[in-house]
């Protein structure tokens, strides 16, 4: 059985002896501010490189890494060229209570937008032991009524900049992600639209011991009070789309039953796809019946490479997906829904 074999396999995977010794020796000597000489040396090099690279290149690279966070395949040349054309550098900064918030860049396909944000804490701050820094944050259009389908901001749990000379890490990145439509259901993130970004109070969340809860309690501590407000206009949007279903609904069958233990069998869901719309960062399947689950959905490109669409939100009878890398619509061959439903590429609409 898989579980038994996998557990036995993992039992055989242990930290090497030299790693074990180094760690056990840590307690026997005073810890250095930054223990691994190799990483410190390279981090210093990166520091120098980061200063010499232009702001545009640095910001662009971080959002691209975020978009790729689920993928181990580096950006291909055509994807880099695509992002060069469609990634908008914003580069606005404000400082409140010693904390500088910088809006770096944004990408959007008209329905889904990612905005990357850098936060820099005051000199001498060390977030090394941080758990979960959060803001109250909001992205909203200046002059439009809209329906927000989903929004989130994500701290990617780390520090994108190398430690400074004192070995402290005092910056972190977020990505604001928003999927929304105007009140007619059309795209909201249009060229020329003005957007407000509002941040309020930086809160640290960390896990602390608790007598009531063996897993600990999340404690929140406000480290910076203030409001940071920005306005920017979108001038780079990829509003193109591709509708893969022309006319007749396409029947589809797929396994459903998310979260089932592996000992249970999933149910077979039968439905029909009324439309499948692909965009640069998102896709929408409109189903005939209210679906209970997401099918697997993969975009297959003409060169054979694949982009797996990530289940995102269910919105009435729509199953909305997002991608972990931009979909270059010109290079799409087909979309595979479930095990064997193939939807071939059609003409691209300019939006």
């Amino acid at each position: 059985m898989f579980e038994t074999d996998y557990k036995s396999a993992c039992d055989a995977v242990k930290a090497p002896e030299k790693t074990r010794e180094k760690i056990l020796n840590l307690s026997r000597k005073k810890p250095s501010p930054f223990p691994i000489g190799k990483v410190l040396f390279v981090a210093s090099l990166i520091s120098i490189l980061a200063v010499s690279v232009s702001a545009t290149e640095f910001f662009q690279s971080w959002l691209r890494q975020y978009i790729l966070q689920g993928s181990e395949i580096p950006l291909r040349q055509n994807e880099v060229q695509y992002l060069d054309a469609y990634e908008q550098v914003i580069n606005q900064s404000q400082t409140q209570d010693g904390y500088t918030v910088t809006l770096e860049s944004a990408v959007t396909d008209g329905f889904l937008a990612y905005v990357s944000v850098l936060v820099t804490a005051p000199e001498g701050t060390d977030f090394t032991h941080l758990d979960q820094p959060t803001f109250t944050a909001r992205l909203s259009p200046q002059d439009a009524s809209y329906t927000c389908i989903s929004d989130s901001y994500q701290n990617n749990g780390g520090f994108s900049c190398p430690p400074d000379k004192d070995g402290n890490s005092r910056t972190f990145h977020w990505v604001l992600e928003m999927e929304a439509v105007d009140n007619k259901g059309d795209s909201l993130f249009l060229t020329g639209t003005q957007w407000n970004v509002h941040f309020e109070n930086l809160v640290l969340t960390y896990l602390e011991a608790s007598a009531e809860n063996q897993y600990g309690e999340f404690i929140q501590e406000t480290v910076a009070e203030g409001e940071w407000d920005f306005t920017f206009a979108l001038d780079k949007c990829d509003l193109r789309s591709m509708e893969l279903i022309q006319g007749t609904p396409v029947p589809v069958q797929y396994e459903s039953g998310l979260g089932l233990p592996s000992t249970e069998s999933p149910a077979l869901e039968e439905n029909s796809i009324l439309s499948c719309t692909l965009r640069a960062y998102s896709a929408v399947l409109t189903m005939q019946k209210d679906p209970s689950d997401f099918p697997a959905c993969t975009v297959v490109m003409k060169d054979g490479s694949r982009i797996e669409l990530l289940s995102h939100t269910k919105f009435y009878k729509q199953l909305r997906f997002k991608t972990d890398r931009p979909i270059l619509l010109d290079d799409v061959d087909y979309v595979l829904v479930g095990e064997d439903t193939t939807l071939y590429a059609q003409e691209i609409s300019q939006g």
Binding site: A9, A15, I23, N155, Q214
Partner: protein, 160 residues
Amino acid sequence: MLSNDQFTFYAERHIDMVYRVALHYLKSADYAQDVTQNVFLKLLQYNKPFESDRHLRNWLIRVAINECKNLVRKRWWHHESYDDYAGKLSFDSPKHSEVFSAVMELPKRYRLPIYLHYYEEYTTQEIADLLKIPKSTVCTQLKRGRDLLKQALAEEGSYV
């Protein structure tokens, strides 16, 4: 702060877990070792008490994941092949080796939930809390991971 004895006790108990988390995330034995050392250095410097072993384990996993993310973001990061390291592991049976390799061949987003669920026996909600992603996403990742594993292991002739 932990005393030396406490640190040694917890380190011996959890070094392998942290190493496995890092290995599943990074797919590189060398980088996993670096991350493991960093995590325990942070444990040594952490000055809040842990109520239970479970609390400490959660903390270690979270810090390990953060360290892995930090590493991946560095410009000099490059993916390494697991195959070089796989040859150095000694499993009790070829089937165990196949299964472990199949998991390591999965895309990153599936490897860690699979490890946390099937080996560390975390629930989907606990994994969602640890990885800071929605529970439904964890469910999807486990399901897709299982589907890919079924396919890969069936092709190898196992679990048909």
